[in-house]
């Protein structure tokens, strides 16, 4: 017999109530764990995808849209820019490198990106099989695309018009797979890469597409505008010096028909927007944890009244007041620890389930089997709530006047 076993015996004696307290705490902790895991991994993903890109230059429009479309490949592009403007920009001494992007088509929901080999090196991508593209109509597939489409080296496929599935197919000009990229954990895994010229040639050929694009430019902003020959969708720019960060965006935005947007700034803005929702849910989860603390407090406080004789008897059996204090604290901590452990398990498992589901439907890869730094703070906070809620009952136990309790009739 020791204090731990004594506390466990009391917890067992109130099994239902204890389970409820543990569950309440676990729900709060679990909710926060899910949020932490999601936001952390999403943030990591966003940072990884924009790593090495200091500035994106594209057509005028929403800067967030420009970043979403040409860095993360989720939104439709803001428009296209003339090749000569892009070429002129590349000669700017503030620019170290500029990777061209030409968007417009997709294959089974994966975007076909016309670019050069620098784009692959940006994400440290390497062909797992085959090689990178050299000639028009040669394509290299990201790892997820290859896995999803079950295409191998030498296979042919046709892109479809537009960035979502179900667009008109470019049957007249199939691509040939010449390379499959190794998984990189970046946006590269979900892209089909080819040369800018391939994209130009496909859209230069079709007679009907020209007409369609002409009215699109004016009337329908929800439809992606496709690259025409001698146009690019965006340039991914790396600065030559830190000074460029101060000068280049202003130069581009004020002096040309182009728009410059910073991925770091825009993703921070995006996370801020998402953050409001996350913070709301987090606040609810915190309330849940505080409720759990309150519930543990009420449980221990009530138990104390039922247990006042027990406490007095324990004193008469030789327990010091300090021992009773510790026994009650241990009881609170056992409940808190159980709640935290259960919450961590629930949170991670739920994240894994949601992540698997999201992966299938949204191609966003989030796993529950990882630990993020915020969790340690959460564990400490939840245990502190447990300790605090046990503190007052413990102090009351410490102060019990045993003679008075035992003399009660």
């Amino acid at each position: 017999m020791n204090l731990l076993r004594l506390s466990l015996a009391y917890i067992r004696a109130r099994a239902l109530n204890s389970a409820l307290n543990v569950l309440l705490l676990a729900l709060g902790v679990g909710t926060i764990v899910v949020l932490l895991l999601f936001t952390h991994q999403l943030q990591q993903r966003l940072e990884r995808d924009s790593d090495g890109i200091d500035l994106v230059v594209g057509a005028k429009g929403s800067p967030l849209q420009l970043i979403l479309s040409s860095v993360y490949h989720v939104d439709i592009p803001t428009g296209n820019i003339p090749l000569q403007d892009a070429e002129k920009l590349k000669t700017n001494p503030l620019i170290k490198s500029a990777v061209p992007l030409a968007l417009g088509d997709s294959y089974e929901g994966f975007r076909i990106v016309g670019t050069n080999h620098d784009y692959v090196s940006l994400y440290q991508g390497k062909p797992a099989q085959g090689r990178l593209w050299e000639k028009p109509y040669e394509a290299v597939l990201g790892s997820e695309v290859a896995a999803h489409a079950r295409l191998n080296l030498g296979d042919k496929f046709v892109g479809s018009h537009g960035l979502v599935e179900g667009g008109e197919k470019h049957e007249h000009s199939p691509y040939t797979v010449v390379g499959l990229l190794a998984p990189s954990g970046s946006v590269l895994d979900r892209l089909v890469l080819t040369s800018v010229e391939s994209v130009w040639e496909i859209h230069g050929q079709g007679p009907h597409e020209k007409d369609e694009d002409e009215d699109e430019n004016g009337s329908d902003p929800t439809k992606p505008r496709h690259v025409q020959p001698q146009e690019l969708t965006a340039l991914l720019v790396q600065y030559a010096s830190p000074m460029a960060a101060a000068m280049l965006p202003r130069q581009i935005n004020s002096q040309s028909a182009l728009q410059a947007a910073s991925p770091a700034f825009e993703s921070a803005r995006l996370l801020n927007l998402v953050g409001v929702g996350v913070q709301t849910v987090q606040a609810f989860a915190l309330v849940l944890i505080l409720c759990a603390g309150l519930s543990v407090f009420i449980a221990l406080y009530n138990a104390l009244r039922e247990r006042s004789y027990d406490l007095a008897v324990m004193r008469s059996l030789g327990a010091s007041p300090g021992k009773l204090l510790v026994a009650i604290l241990i009881e609170g901590m056992i409940l808190a620890c159980a709640g935290v452990v259960l919450g961590l398990v629930l949170g991670h498992a739920l994240t894994e389930v949601l992540g698997t589901w999201l992966h299938a439907s949204q191609r966003v890869y989030i796993t529950g089997w990882t630990v993020v730094p915020g969790e340690f703070l959460l564990i400490v906070a939840a245990l502190a709530v447990g300790l605090l809620s046990a503190l007052l009952p413990a102090v009351l136990a410490y102060r019990t006047d045993i003679a008075e309790v035992l003399a009660r009739r």
């Binding site: 059996l317 030789g318 003679a403």
Partner: protein
């Protein structure tokens, strides 16, 4: 002559200025059994609490096994009580979350004595509770509970056993049995036994008695 199990000198206790206990000199040797008599409110329970070191008297001194309780620091007093004084409460107060054996082991643990499951089980067996060690107090009859409470009080072989109204809720046969158990256990540990009671049925069994008159 060995030192007394306990000795009381010039004891006075008052609640809110009203004197409830007055006892001048009382000394009890090891192995002696005493009855403390007196009507309700005469301070019997108060006396037991003072002897147990649960309550500090307003005036006077109590020494148990040669140690003056007043001079023991608080934490030492708790331990001293656990090791040397066994108390059987009127309402028993077995801890209901623990098994009967758990109650005995708790008494060993809290007194700072080494844990001895064999001795605890042996004690239960000697009180006819061999098969009750793993039961909860709720599952026991009153008579069994009372024997279990006696077992908990004597598990650390105390020098002094205090019992508060051990027979008041019992019929004649059971009252006699309860006394037998207390006397036998006190003899087994060579402990002094003090029973506070207003139960006239058991007066004849004790040679040594004191009567409290209550507040002056």
């Amino acid at each position: 002559m060995t030192e007394p199990a306990f000795a009381v000198k010039h004891l006075r206790h008052a609640y809110n200025g009203e004197e409830v206990l007055r006892l001048d000199d009382w000394s009890v040797a090891e192995g002696e059994s005493w009855l403390v008599l007196g009507p309700s409110g005469s301070g019997k329970t108060t006396l037991l609490h003072i002897l147990a070191g649960i309550l500090a008297p307003t005036e006077g001194s109590v020494s148990v096994a040669g140690r003056a309780l007043r001079e023991l620091p608080a934490s030492e007093l708790d331990r001293f009580r656990g090791r040397n004084i066994g108390i059987v409460f009127q309402r028993l107060h077995l801890i209901s979350s623990l098994t009967i054996l758990g109650n005995l082991l708790l008494a060993q643990y809290l007194a700072g004595a080494s844990r001895d499951i064999g001795a605890a089980r042996g004690l239960l067996a000697s009180l006819g509770l061999a098969d009750k060690g793993d039961s909860r107090p709720r599952a026991l009859s009153f008579g069994q509970s009372q024997r279990a409470a006696v077992a908990r009080a004597v598990v650390n072989s105390p020098r002094l056993i205090l019992a508060d109204e051990p027979t008041s809720n019992l019929d004649d046969a059971n009252a006699a049995a309860a006394l037998d158990v207390l006397l036998a256990q006190a003899r087994a540990c060579n402990a002094a036994l003090v029973i506070a009671t207003h139960d006239r049925r058991i007066r004849d069994r004790f040679e040594r008695q004191i009567t409290l008159a209550g507040g002056a």
